[in-house]
Amino acid sequence: MNLTIKVSAIAVTAALTLAGGMAHAQNVKVAFIEGLSGPFGGVGQNQLNHYQYAAEQFSGKNANSGVTVQIVPMDSKGSPQEALALFKKATDDGIRFITQGNGSSVAGVLIDAVNKFNERNPGKEVVFLNYAAIDPDYTNSKCSPWHFRFDAGVDMKLEALTNYMKDNKAIKNVYVLGQNYSFGQQVSKFTASMLAEKRPDIKIVGNELHPLGQVKDFAPYIAKMVAAGADTVVTGNWGPDLALLIKAAKDAGYKGNFYTFYAGVIGTPAAIGEAGTDRVFQVGYWHPNAEKNALDATYTGFKYRFKEEFYTVATVNAVKFLVAAVEKAKSADGLPVARALAGMKGKGGSGEDIEMRASDGAMQQALYIMQWTRAGVPGVKYAQEGTGHGFKTVRYLEPKLASMPTTCQMKRP
């Protein structure tokens, strides 16, 4: 391409942009601030793949307006301090949207940083798309007009789970086990209070917290559950702490069921495998074997390309909502997009009506109770991570059954 053509090409592009408003072929950069190396690097990279695939499938030439979402990966190594430095880098580069999800510690620091930055830099507002940090505080006491959470909060997930447990008469003795940090403590607190309200006859026979990632051998915990006569275990454990627990249960011949939140996270299905058959349940907003699955092509396409499971529908919703908000606001600036996102409606992973609630920035969506079982039987089309096992819907809870009131008192700008 010689110089004259280049110059005229730029002129034409500029003229088109001016003539057609901002919506034409708009390129929206989203800084993906996540640990991509270190102990949780595998999960971070997997989520990045999700985002890049979602951006490819649901923006650019696949969006009516041509609004393109471009994901800019930044490796925070899971550390809030480095995430903050990267946030500065993103704002230096003129990026107006950041996204993060693994780890409430980083999310909390980022929400705080975004609030401060927007206050000190009017006109350059940054919007935080949270796709997985589910601490309910962020949509209640610490809520922010710049923060939008596409996952369901701990409180919403437990509301759905206890609504299901309420109707299951086989459940009599519940044991709550969690990692001793904010998430585990919230699970323990909400489970006890919600069950007491909905099914006072259920006995909480144990409510146990253990240090995060410190337990090598879960056999003693299983022995305790057996001794307490628990038929059901609710656990917020994730990663090795979850897989080790399930394996220990199988070894000890423990027959109770496990209600979990993170059995589907990359690597965990492979680690649980056979040991979790029929006894592991998960509460989540989507799974590939859902009856009304609206993302079948996305699931298979992703799996074919990356040889990994697709499960974080929040990334797809975040991309879709961002594109729609940019279209609606006819701008890719933080403030108008934040205004457009508040109260925005759309379709979820099961084709249900979802809404980004304006009052607290929490996505209102359907939730599933699903069971880990052998693939091949009706309702279990796809197996996960080559284990020959997959999730089966046990109960579908429409958005209003998983909704929680909020105490958020913010004023939207």
Partner: protein, 436 residues
């Protein structure tokens, strides 16, 4: 205790000393001019804090020969106490915000006194193992007490709070540049204080305990008491670094206490060099470079850092500062000019071999980590395809050819270097003879 930790003796002239300290102050003063963006300024702030932390670490490792795996405990606890103090200031305490790092320092000192009492019961290798265990204990406890540590989300604060006449004059610490100068001032004072500490009797006894604990004991010193005092002093400065972190980040989270961070202090202090006082400063620059900059370039950064560390321990246990000083010594004795071409040859072939190695590593990572986004990649702007055999063959060939050429030139370099060493040794001998 061991020869790697013995300081290579280099006595700057008295005039030189003044020049060095003034230059240090001047660099700190003018650095922000070079920082064009707020990101660059953030990096400078991180480096400044890391420099204090690494120097405080070197009080243990370099000065007293104590290899700790739990230094982040003191920086981290300093941050937590400082952040609580900041929230008190926001809530109406009279303490000015710029004293917060000292609050962190005293917190570090207190925890150093508490935990150091246990860890210093042993010296040498057992000391290292105990610091690791105590570090795990503190980290696990941090998650167990959300009342103090804020759980996983940590504790936030606001550095613009508080009052005082400085604040009325516009020193709110809102803008990052004000934070930078606060860090720079603390860095300068801490550096001076830690340097002065090396000259005190206690600092000297620490060296004696490091070099030969038994003899120090015979002379009449209680080596455990010396270790204990050093741990406390080191924790104090570590706590100051933690307090600065509190102001810089305005948040404290449990990962600040994690063993990975302690390992980082050890790794980069060593890379900077433990034998010289300024070594850890180089280490802190390397730390921020590796963690924030290098990790943007390559997913395999930890592998590279690990391998560089291994090579340095085996071949240059004095770290980068020792390499610099050895070359400066050459310059002083007029031996450096002979080294130019051997250096050029060695670096040239070394870079070629490095390219071959990096190409192999990057292609492997591309396949293992990012295969979904294609197999094409570039290493130093040269396009490669991780799926094609020819790319792999090229990388292997370059690695072998470069490696062989590097080894040949390294041997030549070694010869010239050793000759130079002999010349210098002779020159020193002559000079000594002349004095006598």
């Amino acid at each position: 205790m061991s020869s790697i930790l013995k300081a290579l003796h280099f006595k700057p002239l008295d005039g030189v000393r003044i020049v060095v300290w003034s230059a240090f102050a001047l660099i700190l003063l003018l650095m922000p001019l070079a920082a064009q963006s707020s990101f660059a300024l953030t990096l400078l702030c991180l480096t400044g804090i890391a420099a204090i932390a690494c120097m405080s670490y070197n009080m243990l490792l370099g000065q007293a020969g104590m290899l700790s795996f739990g230094h982040a405990v003191y920086t981290g606890l300093g941050t937590f106490v400082a952040i609580h103090a900041m929230n008190k200031i926001v809530g109406g305490w009279w303490v000015p915000m710029w004293l917060i790092p000292l609050v962190g320092g005293f917190a570090g000192l207190a925890f150093g006194a508490l935990l150091g009492y246990v860890t210093t019961r042993k010296a040498g290798t057992p000391f290292s193992m105990i610091t690791l265990g105590v570090g795990e204990l503190v980290f696990a406890a941090a998650l167990m007490f959300p009342e103090f540590f804020g759980g996983e989300a940590g504790i936030n604060s606001n550095r613009t709070g508080g009052s005082g006449w400085l604040k009325d004059m516009g020193l709110t610490f809102g803008p990052q540049i004000q934070v930078y100068y606060l860090i720079a001032i603390y860095l300068f004072i801490c550096t001076a204080a830690m340097y002065a500490f090396t000259q005190t009797p206690l600092g000297r006894i620490a060296n004696a305990v490091r070099d030969n604990a038994e003899r120090a004991e015979f002379v009449g010193y209680d080596t455990r008491w010396v270790r204990y005092l050093i741990v406390m002093a080191s924790s104090f400065f570590a706590g100051i670094a933690g307090g600065l972190t509190a102001i810089n980040v305005e948040a404290a989270t449990a990962d600040l206490l994690h063993g990975v961070r302690s390992g980082g202090y050890l790794l980069f202090t060593f890379l900077g060099g433990v034998g010289f006082f300024f070594g850890p400063i180089i280490g802190s620059i390397l730390l921020v470079f590796a963690l924030v900059v290098l990790s943007e370039f390559t997913k395999a950064w930890q592998l590279y850092v690990g391998i560089i560390f291994l090579i340095m321990v085996v071949f240059a246990p004095g770290g980068f500062s020792a390499l610099i000083m050895l070359n400066l010594r050459r310059v002083k004795y007029g031996e450096w000019r002979k080294m130019r071409w051997p250096y050029v040859g060695m670096f040239f072939f070394g870079l070629i071999a490095l390219w071959g190695f990096a190409a192999l590593v990057e292609m492997a990572y591309q396949i293992q980590v990012a295969a979904g986004s294609g197999t094409a990649l570039t290493v130093a702007r040269i396009p490669l395809d991780a799926a094609s055999t020819s790319s792999w063959l090229i990388a292997v060939a370059v690695l072998i050819a470069g490696g062989v050429a590097f080894e040949v030139s390294r041997r030549k370099f070694q010869r010239v270097w050793n000759e130079g060493e002999e010349h210098i040794a002779e020159a020193i001998k002559k000079a000594e003879a002349a004095i006598v």
